[in-house]
């Protein structure tokens, strides 16, 4: 099957991941309301690797700078993240 198909999958993924970043960015702006319970530190934007079915991508998400705990909001999990999952499942 064609390499164009592959490229198209790649494109679609990249586009969605850009969106993931945007949504994550919105969370980031959520005026510092989240705090890591263990470390007592505010959750801050940071690089995180997410992966599924053998593909990995770096994204910016809210994270505890000390213990590394990451917040995935409902909006992200059921929106763009789900979309990426579906795209990868059909790859």
């Amino acid at each position: 099957m064609s390499s164009t198909m592959l490229i198209r999958t790649g494109w679609k993924l990249r586009a969605i991941i850009k969106d993931v970043k945007k949504v994550a960015g919105k969370d980031l702006g959520a005026e510092n309301i989240f705090e890591c319970f263990k470390c007592g530190l505010p959750m801050e934007p940071g690089k995180v690797t997410v992966s599924y079915l053998g593909s990995s991508f770096p994204v910016e998400l809210l994270k505890c700078r000390q213990c590394g705990l990451v917040l995935i909001t409902e909006e992200l999990a059921l929106g763009k993240m789900l979309e990426v999952e579906k795209t990868l499942e059909d790859k």
């Binding site: 099957m1 064609s2 390499s3 198909m5 592959l6 198209r8 999958t9 510092n32 309301i33 989240f34 705090e35 890591c36 319970f37 263990k38 959750m43 995180v48 690797t49 997410v50 992966s51 599924y52 079915l53 998400l61 994270k63 505890c64 213990c67 590394g68 705990l69 990451v70 917040l71 995935i72 409902e74 999990a77 059921l78 993240m81 789900l82 990426v84 999952e85 579906k86 499942e89 059909d90 790859k91």
Partner: protein, 774 residues
């Protein structure tokens, strides 16, 4: 299946076959598209369609002897469509100039055409169109032959002249007053030209020439129209004799042109020529329920149709197609095409190594119910295709994990220590029978399992054992071939250990699985037993009324089950309404094939369609049918509800238990039976998470149900978060957000501790792994 088998399967679907009219037409006019344009008032576009297969359309349109009409399926509901009259109206009322003919580069091999009648004209037209230099020998001083014998009111002379003038524009050299046999002999023609077409009409006396039969007709190869002479082909009146048929003459000329082209290119004359000339189509078209309509009569018969009349008459065309299966199956309709195309898409999907697997959803959404096969005149079975495809996808690691994960975990739970049980009847060392209620009845109505088991032990003296577990259907439906085989093997092993008793099945799906995959086990449905051994005394207050029966799709071929169910209802005093689709053509409830998990939206449509088929309350003998229908607001009773007099018809539809409750019901059933029947010590080893007390608003339970999140998933998250301190606080509202990944899914819970429990505000999940959270 290999590629060839897929192709053969595709071919079974008749939907892409032409309608009867087109197949009967010797040149295969696309009548269905033609009438569609006529109906829409687009006469110009209709003419374009007509001209695509008909040269000299202005002539043929006025005089065609229309063998298509005798084949027209509209004839089964009123008169056949007046196709010829429509074509006449079209060519008379349209003045669009024919599309410009672009000729390919001239070839060097030359063709002689003898005779300027319709067949010769058509042969010359097609051969010139392919670039061959053509010389046409005409005995008289004008083209058209027999056309000139038509009444001028039918075929105005000017039309013959203008329509045939196209040949000169195409560079055909016409020699008038040139009778073959007089000005030039056949042998001379053969030596001067590379190929010859004889279209000289029935009066041709060739000396010496092709063989002539007793009727005076030229003896021809029926497929290629070749005469006995090398490179000489013939047709038209020479072939048909005195029964002059303009459209058959035209067709002969065109077919001979194909032969001549192949002859000159030195390729096979006979390969792939099956459907030239008239033939019978395989397209199935039902005219059931079509309101009969007579043909529109022209106000002035001599004039033919007016524009308005033609539009009306074209509107009677049925636009023949099959789609029998698509009409009855929401799934097939949902993907907006038909099985032939689906088979192509699935085959394609399986072949792709890298790239988008666009048909995954199509493959996983089928309920595997087999209704298509029942209604298809060619027994096309989408279920079989999807089953094969799923197994192959899984084998190749291409099965989307999200599609079947949940029901497979549910199956593992049913067959795990907490729920599975196999025992001889208490006080018996052997079993003549073994009751297998199935995991869904145990989940939906564990009380019924107890009741039925008590009934069975009371009726059979030889000991009735009990086996609580899942038959493995989710493994089969999800393409997990190996897992399914293992589940069957376990059942087989336990059944042997029980001494090979006869199995009594309460679930239709189990019945189907056992029948197809464990043929060594003798099975009988619980319904046959109730029917044969008599109904139990029931103390209920239920008043029988009218019910409609939802036959289970997995037992569509089990007539004895359909019969027993009806007989039981009659004995109970119910009046039965048969749904239009019942017994072998019954419809699935949306659970079959795991459609409910792979495509929820579609399953909802399937259910909504089914529950609207009658106003009567439904009675089902499958727990999933019952639960799915009542969950969408349809009063639906399980047959056991009625047998035990437990249905209250005054109540609104009773929703079945949710996913968490279903699991709990199965586990509790095992414990309860162990305690009460076998007097066993039940060791309850509680895991830490089970002590987490949840306070759950109804709205949250609903959301969790929809998102396939179990109570225990939430308990596990909270237990984990509270134990490890891995949680996040929302400073605005004090809620805690925490996640945990006990399986290949990460569950998130938003909660607040309250007294000795936890208020759950929300729960969601994702499958992606997030570094730092695992």
């Amino acid at each position: 299946m290999d590629h060839k088998q897929w192709r053969e399967y595709e071919e079974r679907c008749t939907q892409e076959r032409p309608p009867a009219c087109t197949a009967a037409c010797p040149v295969h006019v696309d009548v269905r598209s033609f009438t569609a344009e006529m109906k829409a008032g687009n006469f110009n576009r209709a003419l374009d369609i007509f001209r695509k297969t008909v040269p000299f359309a202005g002539i043929i349109g006025r005089i065609c002897d229309h063998p298509c009409q005798a084949a027209c399926r509209r004839g089964e509901a009123g008169d056949p469509v007046s196709i010829a009259a429509l074509e006449k109206a079209c060519v008379e009322m349209t003045s669009a100039p024919p599309a410009k003919i672009t000729l390919p580069p001239k070839k060097d091999r030359r063709v002689a055409v003898a005779g300027g009648g319709l067949s010769g004209l058509a042969a010359a037209f097609d051969l010139a169109g392919k670039g061959y230099p053509v010389v046409l020998f005409e005995a008289t001083d004008r083209l058209g032959g027999g056309l000139w014998e038509m009444p001028a009111e039918v075929l105005p002379r000017q039309i013959i002249l203008t329509e045939t003038a196209v040949l000169e524009q195409m560079g055909v050299e016409i020699r008038y007053q040139a009778t073959v046999g007089q000005v030039i002999s056949l042998p001379e023609l053969c030596s001067e030209y590379d190929a010859v077409y004889l279209g000289t009409g029935e009066n041709f006396k060739p000396v010496p020439g092709p063989e002539i039969d007793q009727a005076g007709r030229c003896r021809l190869d029926p497929v290629t129209l070749a005469t006995g002479l090398n490179g000489v082909f013939a047709g038209g009146g020479l072939r048909t004799g005195p029964d002059y048929s303009p459209i058959n003459s035209l067709s002969d000329g065109r077919r001979a042109a194909i032969s001549i082209d192949r002859f000159l290119q030195k390729v096979s004359l006979t390969a792939v020529r099956e459907n030239e000339g008239p033939y019978q189509t395989r397209l199935f078209t039902s005219t059931k329920g079509v309101e009969p309509l007579p043909a529109v009569a022209p106000g002035n018969p001599a004039q033919g149709y007016t524009r308005e009349e033609a539009v009306l008459e074209a509107g009677r065309c049925l636009a023949c197609q099959c789609l029998e299966c698509v009409k009855v199956c929401e799934y097939l309709a949902h993907f907006k095409s038909y099985p032939k195309k689906y088979a192509r898409d699935i085959n394609q999907n399986l072949k792709i190594v890298m790239g988008v697997h666009g048909a995954n959803n199509l493959i996983n959404s089928c309920s595997l119910c087999g209704l298509c096969r029942e209604v298809c005149p060619e027994n096309f079975d989408m279920a079989e295709l999807c089953r094969v495809a799923r197994a192959e996808m899984f084998k190749k690691g291409k099965m989307p994990p999200s599609a079947h994960d949940f029901p497979l975990r549910d199956m593992a739970f049913s067959n795990g220590e907490q729920c599975a049980l196999t025992r001889h009847q208490s006080g018996h060392a052997s079993s003549s029978h073994l009751f297998f209620p199935g995991c869904q009845l145990s989940a939906s109505a564990p009380g019924h399992v107890e009741r039925a088991y008590a009934y069975l032990t009371g009726r059979f003296a030889g000991g009735v054992g009990l086996m609580l577990r899942c038959c493995g259907a989710p493994a089969e439906w999800s393409g997990r071939t190996g897992l399914f085989a293992a589940e069957l093997q376990e059942i087989r092993k336990q059944w042997r250990e029980m001494g090979g008793p006869r199995l009594i099945l309460a679930c239709s799906t189990c019945y189907r699985m056992f029948k197809s995959h464990l043929p060594e086990i003798e099975i009988v449905s619980l319904w046959e037993i109730y029917d044969q051994l008599g109904l139990p005394e029931a103390a209920g207050t239920q008043k029988p009324g009218l019910v409609a029966i939802q036959d289970a799709c997995t037992t569509r071929h089990e007539k004895q089950i359909h019969q027993s169910v009806r007989s039981i209802l009659q004995k109970l005093g119910f009046k039965i309404e048969e749904l239009p689709a019942s017994r072998e053509t019954t419809e699935c409830c949306g659970y079959g094939g795991l459609m409910l998990f792979a495509n929820r939206k579609l399953a909802d449509d399937v259910i909504n369609r089914r529950i609207r088929e009658s106003a009567a309350g439904y009675v089902a003998y499958c727990a999933m049918c019952r639960d799915n229908f009542s969950a969408r607001g349809k009063k639906t009773y399980h047959l056991l509800d009625l047998i035990y007099g437990l249905a209250d018809f005054a109540l609104p539809p009773q929703k079945g238990p949710g996913y968490s409750q279903r699991r709990e019901n199965r586990a509790r059933l095992k414990n309860k039976l162990l305690k009460e029947i076998w007097r066993d010590q039940v060791v309850q080893h509680e895991s830490a998470f089970e002590n987490i007390k949840l306070i759950m608003p109804a709205a949250v339970s609903g959301v969790m149900e929809e998102r396939l999140i179990l109570k225990e998933d939430v308990q596990k998250v909270i237990e984990y978060a509270e134990r490890t301190g891995n949680k996040i606080i929302n400073r605005n509202n004090g809620h805690i957000m925490a996640c945990h990944r006990p399986v290949s899914v990460t569950y998130w819970v938003e909660y607040t501790p309250q007294a000795d429990g936890f208020v759950v505000h929300n729960a969601y999940s994702h499958r992606m792994e997030v570094e730092g959270n695992n």
